[in-house]
């Protein structure tokens, strides 16, 4: 299971059913990368995470979630 999960698919549908291709063009990656992101098969760079969040007018932590607890 990926450590970083995301809700890109839900956010796309919440934004007038934005297509993967449209999102890919807006954030400057290929559609295959958006598919891999949604499937949890790719962990994006910090810069790409920010660009995706801005494409949805959200904060990074609203789009990406890191649920692994920090070791004390």
């Amino acid at each position: 299971m990926p450590e970083i999960t995301n809700c890109i698919r839900r956010l796309r549908f919440d934004h007038d059913e934005m297509t993967q291709e449209s999102l890919a063009v807006r954030v400057g990656v290929t559609r295959q990368t958006i598919i891999a992101l949604e499937a949890g098969k790719y962990t994006p760079s910090l810069a790409l995470a920010f660009r995706i969040a801005r494409a949805f007018n959200k904060r990074v932590e609203d789009v990406f979630h890191y649920d692994v607890p920090i070791k004390e």
Partner: protein
Amino acid sequence: MMNAEQKRAWLGVVTGIACVVGYVALIPFLGPMAATGAFGLYGINGIAPLIGRKEHADERDRSIARQATLGGAMASYMAFIFGCMGTWFVAFAWHGQEQVSVHLVATITFVGGIVFYSVRSVVVLVLYGRHVGADNA
């Protein structure tokens, strides 16, 4: 739909297999030394940069290419070192020879190159099919 990197990787895998098949097929006719000419087929990979050169590569593609190149370089280095040192072991320990053919140098170097491109191609295909983390995150 495959992207340019995957197409180049498949070209590497197919030509690698063609070289080995050609080599094995030519041995009965030409002998093991002359049959190594079959590996010249690997030169077809020279057209790889022409495949999808106008295609846009994003950070995931670059990350996969970097990791595959590293994997290919590691495998190539191992093959080269094992080939060089293994030659002495086989010659001295098994056959009691104090000299080896100069052809072995070229062969081992060539095998190192083949291993690099073949392993890199396989790693590219594997990484596109599984979880990959951005190494510039």
